[in-house]
């Protein structure tokens, strides 16, 4: 069940330039969150910025802590970055659908930048479900950025294949290169791919998976006014029929890669 909750800031951790982890005491929402669920955060009481901002749940604890990862890109995220312990913000959540973790035996988890948040939560859940084989492929602009984003996987016993735009860590190039290299070893029967990152990355992954016949889910981002399927603002075009729109906050944020009309998402 979704709720509106006053969440108290426990700590805010800088993970590098413009990158933060925000740890909130938000027991009601934390107690119900699932992989790729998201929250709407009101970042200030002022009327500008006006709307809540959506963030994926990164991690929760049984003590009611809820963590998000965020990058400062504008006023709303700048406001978040100035929060201090014991400040309070309003959160609504958990919202959206989630990754489908039930059907598969093996997973390749693909993350770009802060897109690692829902992927990490999925990884923890898969590990908790027991025994499935997991590979993580993660990319970012630089190693300095990628390292703190992927540090959580090793303690789970999950290896990461890394790619950076500047070659400062892992493969010098795109995370999709890593996927292509691996493709020969992947069993379309057993393996599922879960992916979250910039739209061009997800579109490329979707294309690769379609060609290879691999089951693939993506977690999308669009502009959201409400997050609760009231404004009808968060649409993406569905595949096949240009007139059918999907609502990311309700039908998503997770979609089967084949459901999406990627062309319109990239313009």
């Amino acid at each position: 069940m979704k709720t509106v909750e006053r969440a108290r800031v426990k700590r805010i951790v800088s993970l590098g330039r413009n990158l933060f982890r925000l740890d909130l005491h938000s027991p009601q929402i934390a107690g119900q969150a699932w992989p790729a669920s998201f929250v709407m955060a009101r970042t200030s009481e002022a009327t500008a910025p006006l709307l809540c901002r959506p963030f994926s749940v990164y991690q929760t604890t049984s003590e009611g802590e809820l963590q998000i990862l965020f990058r400062v890109v504008g006023q709303g995220t700048a406001n978040l970055s100035r929060l201090r312990p014991d400040d309070e913000i309003s959160l609504t959540g958990p919202l959206g659908n989630g990754f489908d973790l039930g059907a598969r035996k093996e997973f390749i988890l693909i993350a770009g930048g802060v897109g690692v948040a829902p992927v990490f939560m999925a990884a923890k859940q898969i590990v908790r479900n027991g025994g499935t084989r997991i590979t993580v492929m993660a990319g970012a602009a630089t190693g300095e950025e990628l390292e703190p984003l992927t540090a959580g996987f090793a303690p789970l016993g999950i290896d990461c294949e890394l790619a950076t735009d500047d070659g400062s860590l892992g493969h010098h190039g795109l995370v999709t290169d890593l996927l292509k290299q691996r493709l020969a070893d992947v069993s379309p029967q057993r393996t599922g791919i879960l992916c979250c990152g910039p739209a061009p990355m997800m579109a490329a992954v979707a294309g690769i998976c379609e060609q290879a016949g691999i089951w693939c889910q993506v977690s999308l981002e669009t502009m959201m006014a409400c997050g609760v399927s009231a404004c009808l603002g968060c649409t993406v075009a569905g595949r096949g029929n240009g007139k059918k729109y999907l609502h990311v906050c309700k039908d998503g944020p997770v979609f089967m890669a084949g459901e999406i009309e990627w062309k319109t998402l990239l313009t």
């Binding site: 009327t47 500008a48 709307l51 669009t222 502009m223 409400c226 009231a230 404004c231 009808l232």
Partner: protein, 306 residues
């Protein structure tokens, strides 16, 4: 004061628990907010606009934030009147508050048909008529900017329905009192205003409109001063009740509209920012009345001291 102040509000033959409704298109069909706020504490729920046939709406992007405002071009996406009755109304019937169906059309006759259909079903307490849509027979000029079209739509709705008819005025006019009076003279039971103000945003880097539809409707706190002025003017111009809408975020905002002459208010964009906004505003109005020693909200209406 011994008793809690009386928030009951009589509008267009209905009595509402309190004067705070949700605005069309900002509260879905009620169900979306059921887990987040106490629906039975609202004066009424106004539904997302309903047309005869389902509409897919505009291509994305559909929303963009502006300074203290929200610009939208949803394109009136809705499930259509039949799916509304089958899939949405059953929940609304039992949600514990009044239900006002908001309708829209491209032609005058569509409004009539919608009124006839919705009058025939149980669970709809009143009809709010969105006239900010393009009138296809008149070259796409919005009904709401032409007093004759306003009168024509109002008459058709009244003829086809026994339910109270609320005409929702467009702010994109030179003189709001002209369309307000046109609605009143044509028989409207109440008017509500304002709908969104036509507006635009451009991505300078891409040199493209931020909305796929190029232009959209501006809502939120940015437009409140304009809405308040129009409500004040309209309330002075007509005798039927006026429902104030536009940028209401807090109880104080709502009180401004009531003091200006509104019999009730609608909370729109605020529900996105705080899903409990409407409920909290109703409570805030009650607290204000108590603090000011007023025993009813009716005593406050139009009490502006010039």
């Amino acid at each position: 004061m011994e008793n809690a102040p009386d928030l009951k509000t009589a509008i267009a033959g209905m009595t509402l628990r309190n004067p705070v409704m949700t605005a069309s298109g900002t509260f879905g069909y009620g169900e979306e907010f059921a887990e987040l706020t106490n629906l039975h504490r609202l004066g009424a729920i106004v539904t997302k606009g309903i047309s005869l046939a389902p509409r897919p709406g505009n291509p994305p992007p559909r929303v963009v934030e502006t300074a203290s405002g929200l610009l939208n071009a949803i394109g009136l996406e809705n499930v259509g009147v039949q799916a509304f009755i089958d899939a949405k109304l059953p929940f609304l019937k039992n949600c514990g508050t009044r239900v006002i169906a908001n309708i829209l059309g491209d032609r005058v006759e569509e409004y009539g048909e919608l009124c006839a259909i919705l009058s025939g079903v149980e669970g709809v307490d009143a009809i709010e008529v969105n006239i900010s849509c393009p009138n296809v027979k008149q070259g796409g000029i919005a009904f709401g900017t032409d007093p004759e079209a306003v009168a024509a739509v109002t008459k058709t709705c009244k003829k086809n329905s026994k339910l109270p008819i609320i005409i929702k005025l467009s702010p994109n006019v030179t003189d709001i009192t002209v369309t307000a009076r046109a609605a009143e003279e044509a028989g409207a039971d109440a008017i509500s205003l304002i709908n969104t103000i036509t507006a635009m945003a451009i991505d300078a880097e891409k040199r493209r409109p931020r909305l796929a539809n190029v232009i959209g409707g501006l809502s939120g706190p940015a437009i409140k001063p304009v809405a308040l002025r129009m409500v004040w003017q309209a309330a002075a111009a007509v005798r039927i009740p006026v429902i104030g809408i536009g940028g209401i975020m807090t109880a104080d905002d709502a009180l401004e509209f009531i003091i200006a002459g509104a019999a009730a208010v609608q909370v729109g964009t605020a529900s996105f920012v705080n899903p409990r906004a409407a409920e909290e505003i109703a409570a805030g109005i009650s607290a204000y009345l108590e603090r000011h020693g007023l025993d009813s909200v009716a005593a406050l209406r139009g009490s502006l001291r010039l």
